[in-house]
Amino acid sequence: MDILRFATAGSVDDGKSTLIGRLLFDSKAIFEDQLEAVERTSRDRGTEYTDLSLLTDGLRAEREQGITIDVAYRYFATPKRKFIIADTPGHIQYTRNMVTGASTADLAIILIDARKGVLEQSRRHAFLTTLLRVPHLVLAVNKMDLVDYSQERFEEIREEFTSFASKLNAPDLTFIPISALNGDNVVSRSENMPWYNGSSLLHHLENVHIASDRNLVDVRFPVQYVIRPQRATDPALHDYRGYAGQVAGGVLKPGDEVVHLPSGLSTRIASIDTFDGPVEEAFPPMSVTLRLEDDIDISRGDMICRPNNQPQAAQELEAMVCWMTDASKLGPRTKLTIKHTTRTARALVRDLHYRLDVNTLHRDEAAASLGLNEIGRVSLRVTQPLFVDDYARNRLTGGFILVDEATNNTVGAGMIVEAR
């Protein structure tokens, strides 16, 4: 059994909470005491039906205001897969939450109300999903029961969205007509839509192939921590020096020739160690410890890769940045701390090329700054080289966060588009 992480986007009106509630309920991930609590609250508020959104809206402020203010993580499993849902609110203020939820997602579900069709917010969700390079996108056309399960209406929406998506460089795209309220095409195929030949949503989630979405080609091993047993009673361990980290790309094997960055020195992998014994290969997302044949001065923030396939050692970065705070703005001369893989440095914003309107994709080149939830193309200069790839090639070596040096808050998320 493997794990599929997916993000859901849509507003309350799209039936997102109802859909999640149904997936959880039908897969028996909602327990009786949780359901009772929701029923009790629904009753206390005079709601006629059981409001499943209460399952996900967990914080007091959310319950009081009837909105979702943060990413909520939910879990369920079928015999085939374990699922982690990053449930993100759909309204415009929360672009930052959607970006956060999408950053680790294998798949995103965008909900569209069949009566309303492709709205501005559907386009925004699709854009953010592709910006974050979520490999699989599902357009769930919901409330089909309210359009008489019309194939014509479904096709109309499919065409409209497909033509928009072609501008986005959208990944694997799947359209599923559903009724979350009635359960049509959610867990099993609906008899109300005999014209639909595809999978139910759950069947799609269970079977979509994600193993090859990871980069298994470019070996990238950011050194996270150096392991040197200092009070080991075993004399064999006195000289032990292991480089611990989580594989960010490629497949590593003992005996492979590797290069250490920034030194550029080559050596070979002596062994790949784990608590459970040495392993014959390591690939994402494994956390392992490498021992190397030669003694090289290696510390946290360094990178191990292959001689003929190296990341860029870059101090000048071009990136799409999403700004995530209302306490300050990003503009030329802004100084920040940047964290990329296991390396932390300082960064200076050299230029803001344009601000992107996430609804129309219009580029505003006159923009002087980025505010909360705004996205733009930025040039950064970094105090020491970062070992980077294009985000499109590897999300782990192409993504970074920006931290405000005064407040210590995480204020930006960046995706590298070009490095030199």
Partner: protein, 304 residues
Amino acid sequence: MLQRDYTTSQLDVLEAEAVHIMREVAAEFERPCLLFSGGKDSIVMLRVAEKAFWPAPIPFPLMHVDTGHNFPEVIEFRDRRVAELGARLIVASVQDSIDAGRVVEETGRRASRNRLQTTTLLDAIEDNEFDAVFGGARRDEEKARAKERVFSFRDEFGQWDPKNQRPELWNLYNARLRKGENIRVFPLSNWTELDIWDYIRREGIEIPPIYFAHTRKVFERDGMLLADNPWITRGEDEPVFDAVVRYRTVGDATCTGAVESAAATVEEIIEEIAATRITERGATRADDRASEAAMEDRKREGYF
């Protein structure tokens, strides 16, 4: 574990993620510590810590916030496990906080030291100058936890502000702090109760005997079975009887309920959990039943 198509099982993914989180903390903080109660989640967390730094010892101390209302089997287990690892254990005692006048013991039938633990924990973090504290909390446990970050920032009062959390993207965690602030770190955030049990089975991890079915003197309160013990005030309408029970969670003995169960092995427990229709906190924690936002309120004050 490894297949040619590089599929990775859910437990391997969760373990790799937790190991990564622990190494980030060890690399970026000055004084981390790991909360170890002898409960199943902290036992799993401790095993992951052992793996993260092997063959070196775990590079931080363990801490138990001790209400004094313990199950003796759990304390025996705790001490044995600590000794096996050669780890350092700090016991922060709620009784000491009471004796020092930091908190006042609750009285009456529902008296519990559960809430008092927060003060003891915050004082211990301050006294030891801990800047990162590992906890075994999982997001599937409770709806306030579902929205908490892996690195959960706490101000100098130990408070959690759910509306002002640091965004967390990819596997990048922001470890920056000012003096006096700390981060609660939850490496098992993405594990479910069933994942914990599957992992205990796969790894052959020992757990305290109270998790398995045994005969115990209990009484019924609010639909839960509480163990008869010296710290709890029973009413005359709460007669004691023998029952075959086990614990799904291990906490303060005055507010942790047992469930009727015949599950005597890890396999039988997994079968039982897979079929159960009630969450572990709903079934066994009086502290979460206080109100709809009981956990959120306690977390804001600095609870685990």
